[in-house]
């Protein structure tokens, strides 16, 4: 009889504990505020350019020009590294985002130092974010101060929302 009462006591304790846990869990879920989801649209994924510059040459060009929809916030990941050539190389570069719809204003930039020492396998990169009135224009500029030519690998991935 005593054993039966003990078992009943344990069962009641466990039931109370379970109810407490359920109440706590439900109240926690109820306390969660509805979040605002941001839908990111992938515009380009890991596109790769190969820029081979002649000795003592600078070259600038557009990676994207008047691209995508207007009135969006853009997130653009860019990076640059050596592609063949010397094991180490001085170089300078910048990536610029222009707002195509507002007179082509420069709105974001990732620039290396005046001359960066790049080694093979090392990649310099950044993520640029900008809210644009118009469409996206992304420009890259690379300078090769060496008398020998040098190739550079440039990548870009972009989203907008």
């Amino acid at each position: 009889m005593c054993i039966f009462e003990n078992k009943m006591h344990y069962a009641k304790t466990i039931a109370k504990f379970a109810i407490l846990v359920i109440v706590l869990a439900l109240s926690s879920i109820g306390a969660i505020q509805p979040g605002r989801a941001i839908g990111m649209n992938l515009y380009s994924y890991f596109q790769n350019w190969n820029f081979c510059l002649g000795g003592n040459s600078n070259y600038s060009t557009w990676l994207y020009y008047d691209a995508g929809p207007s009135s969006k916030t853009w997130v653009v990941t860019v990076d640059i590294g050596l592609n063949g050539g010397d094991n180490t190389q001085y170089a300078h570069w910048f990536f610029d985002i222009f707002d195509h719809g507002s007179g082509g204003n420069l709105v974001a930039e990732y620039a290396g130092a005046q001359y960066n020492w790049i080694a093979q396998g090392i990649v310099f990169g950044s993520t640029l974010t900008a809210s644009l009135a118009g469409s996206l224009t992304l420009e890259v500029s690379i300078g090769n101060p060496d008398s020998a030519s040098q190739c550079f690998s440039v990548q870009a991935t972009s989203w907008y929302y």
Binding site: Y43, S44, Q47, N48, W49, N50, F51, C52, L53, G54, G55, S57, N58, Y59, S60, T61, W62, L63, Y64, Y65, A67, G68, N83, G84, G85, D86, E139, A148, S149, Q150, C151
Partner: protein, 153 residues
């Protein structure tokens, strides 16, 4: 059911290996499908400012030119692309210039060993033969795994 999953997993691993390892064998100087290739040169002396490989859309592949610069598109000359970029990757872009009379891209130096011996063969090897061999290997391995698993069952 478990064996089917195992076989599927093995095939996936092999496919992943094939797709990740093979590109390493393909020379990065070979023309890539869908890419646009061009060179920008100085109109005064024909020296090359830049040789560019531009990926497919949405990338913008119309070059930005400074005063005194001009452009030649070479996308439709895959052997020239291969030769030029092979030299460029060996820091020998200076071997190339544009003949200002004919507006043709010409090589003045000795090209790299990769490109001097039958470049069309090299392009064919990396572009067709290696993927075909990889596919054959993948098919054979999958078949072997399948047969072994069913034999045990």
């Amino acid at each position: 059911m478990r064996k089917t999953a195992l076989i599927g997993f093995a095939i996936l691993v092999l496919a992943a290996l094939a797709t990740s390892v093979l590109p390493a064998f393909a020379d990065s100087t070979d023309p890539q499908p869908g890419y646009t290739y061009y060179i920008v040169y100085n109109q005064t002396d024909g020296s090359i400012v830049a040789a560019v490989g531009c990926p497919p859309s949405p990338a913008y592949c119309i070059p930005k030119l400074q005063p005194g610069q001009s452009v030649i598109y070479i996308t439709d000359q895959p052997i020239v692309v291969s030769l030029l970029f092979a030299d460029a990757h060996n820091a020998k872009l200076g071997n190339w210039h544009v003949n200002l009379q004919t507006h043709q891209l010409v090589s003045t130096g000795t090209t790299s060993p990769l490109t001097t011996s039958h470049p069309a063969f090299v392009i064919g090897l990396t572009g067709v033969a290696l993927p075909a061999l990889a596919f054959l290997g993948l098919a054979t391995s999958s078949s072997l795994i399948w047969r072994r698993t069913h034999k045990r069952a």
